[in-house]
């Protein structure tokens, strides 16, 4: 049994490699994963006199969130339309193998692109006081957001990538505004704090602030715990829904 799981896990890497080759350069992935967060950040930054230490955690949070959620939603509808999903389903792999591969490719995209704001920060003289917390936080958060990304394409079961991308944007944009990226959590009103607590991005942004500015709103252990729990919930829920709706896509 152990061997079976290991074998399936290895096959997830094959799915991941395939996704990297095909989907990283697709238009919607580039637009929603790279261009959108960049211009969103510029519109926030230009004309404000803010210290770099206050800017970089927000930029990092936004980059990790947008990039790690840009690949996942596009893959399944794309493959359903191209009839390659049928090829995968008829292969000796489980549904969870396919989606773990999708999560891994989204995760890798998120991690690699998230390194750039860190480099920019270091270049303009930002000190990272807790580099291990930041590194571990980026890895955990991008895996969490990548798991969230496959949940975004789980329902409704469609073969129209543009539809899924638009629907996921409707969910992603409000989350960015309530997650302490543009306004620190402590400056939010009471209802804003409650609202921000439901977004996993809040906990990563808090971790990033702690790593760079040395202070956080929530305890560090809580930030990590919420990200782990959210990852498990997103992953399990997404795979269960995909298993149920898979037949409707074929």
């Amino acid at each position: 049994m152990e061997n079976l799981y290991w074998e399936q896990f290895k096959r997830s890497f094959a799915i991941m490699k395939k996704n990297i080759r095909i989907y990283y350069s697709k238009g919607p992935v580039v637009i929603f994963g790279l261009i959108t967060p960049f211009f969103l950040f510029l519109s926030f930054y230009i004309g404000r006199n803010m210290p770099a230490e206050a800017l970089i955690p927000g930029l990092l949070g936004m980059t990790a969130f947008f990039t790690a959620t840009s690949v996942g939603p596009a893959i399944v509808p794309w493959e359903a339309r191209a009839k390659t999903l049928e090829r995968l389903i008829s292969s000796p792999i489980s549904v969870w193998t396919i989606f773990l591969g999708d999560v891994l490719s989204s995760f890798l995209f998120g991690v690699v692109v998230s390194i750039f704001p860190v480099i920019v920060g270091l270049f303009i003289g930002v000190q990272i006081v807790n580099p291990w917390i930041l590194g571990f936080g980026i890895i955990l958060a991008t895996f969490c957001f990548a798991s969230f990304s496959i949940l975004l394409s789980a329902y409704p079961p469609t073969d129209t990538p543009a539809g899924v991308m638009m629907l996921s944007s409707m969910i992603k944009f409000p989350l960015v505004f309530i997650s302490g990226i543009f306004i620190p959590i402590e400056e939010l009103p009471g209802w804003g704090k409650v609202l921000s607590s439901i977004s996993p991005l809040t906990y990563f942004t808090d971790l990033a602030r702690y790593s760079i500015q040395g202070n956080s709103y929530y305890p560090i252990a809580l930030n990590f715990t919420v990200l782990v729990v959210a990852t498990i919930i997103f992953l399990v829920t997404a795979i269960k829904i995909h298993e149920r709706t898979m037949q409707k896509r074929l």
Binding site: K10, R11, I15, A82, K83, E86, S90, Q247, L250
Partner: protein, 290 residues
């Protein structure tokens, strides 16, 4: 779902044809057997493994050429083959060796690094066959493998199918091409409206169709089909080019009557042949009956 309680067995090493008109349920059957769609009810097993309870084990033994071309068009032929090899757990060295061998056999090796989106229909179909064979399957599911291909490609793929079968691979072939099934298959099942109308070898199917034997005749002058259909013991007369085909249960009796008919009308018989029913005749009859 179009398929309604079909039941059949395929022997190990057999080349089994699954024939039927469009929308008969051929592709639905193959998609159920290959784990793409789940049947509402019923069971099926492949090499002793239940397709629902032991899906991974059954799919591990299969090679599949689906009806719709579904190689990854944004990948090269090489990367497509390597991906499928990885999904079937073929070790790295072996999958590279097999990919090279298959691409050379199918004449795709020179263009192995080109994206599949630039391939012709025939090249894509050959690539799908390569992808189905990378794991050296014990059973090969082929859904209309020669559909839409030129004659040369059709012949090449048919020769390949024969070779794989000769080497012990069980082949499950769906087609609506009678001649292809006749040339390739050990046994044929004819499906229509989701039900099996007949299963037998092509020859036996032909022989058991009484009333489909015929005489093909041509005269020196034009004779109306209506007149010929009135010849004693003729069941049906049909014009085929410059000849007329007469269907009868006992062609030998009709022969005498036909000669009498020619004499009475002062006609000279140019050609006269007795014909066994073609598989197409049998197919059309069974489809009509079902």
């Amino acid at each position: 779902m179009a398929v309604d309680h079909v039941s059949f067995q395929v022997q190990k090493g057999e080349l089994f044809g699954f024939l039927g008109p469009n929308a008969a349920g051929k592709t639905t059957t193959i998609r159920m057997l290959t784990g793409v769609i789940k049947p509402d009810e019923g069971t099926a097993s492949i090499f002793g493994y239940d397709i629902l309870r032991e899906g991974l084990k059954t799919r591990q033994l299969m090679g599949i050429v689906p009806e719709m071309a579904n190689a990854y068009v944004d990948l090269s032929a090489w990367n497509n083959l390597i991906l499928i090899g990885e999904l079937y757990g073929v070790p790295k060295g072996l999958r590279q060796e097999r990919a090279t061998k298959l691409l050379k056999e199918f004449g795709l090796y020179e263009r192995r690094n080109h994206l599949v989106k630039g391939y012709s229909r025939g090249m894509k179909q050959k690539l799908l066959l390569c992808m189905a064979l990378i794991n050296e399957p014990q059973i090969l599911f082929l859904d209309e493998p020669t559909s839409g291909l030129d004659v040369e490609s059709q012949r090449m793929i048919k020769d390949m199918i024969r070779d794989f079968n000769k080497n012990g691979t069980t082949v499950f072939l769906t087609t609506h091409n009678m001649e292809e099934a006749n040339q390739l298959c050990d046994r044929i099942a004819i499906i229509n409206h989701g039900k099996i109308a007949a299963i037998d070898s092509p020859e036996k199917l032909r022989l058991r169709s009484s009333g489909l034997q015929s005489i093909e005749v041509s005269f020196d002058k034009t004779v109306s089909v209506e007149d010929l259909s009135k010849v004693q013991d003729v069941k049906e007369a049909r014009k085929t080019g410059d000849k007329v085909r007469l269907y009868a249960d006992e062609p030998s009796i009709v022969l005498d009557n036909l000669i009498d008919f020619a004499r009475s009308k002062r006609l000279k018989i140019i050609s006269l042949n007795t014909l066994a029913p073609t598989l197409e005749d049998v197919f059309l009859k069974l489809v009509k009956e079902s």
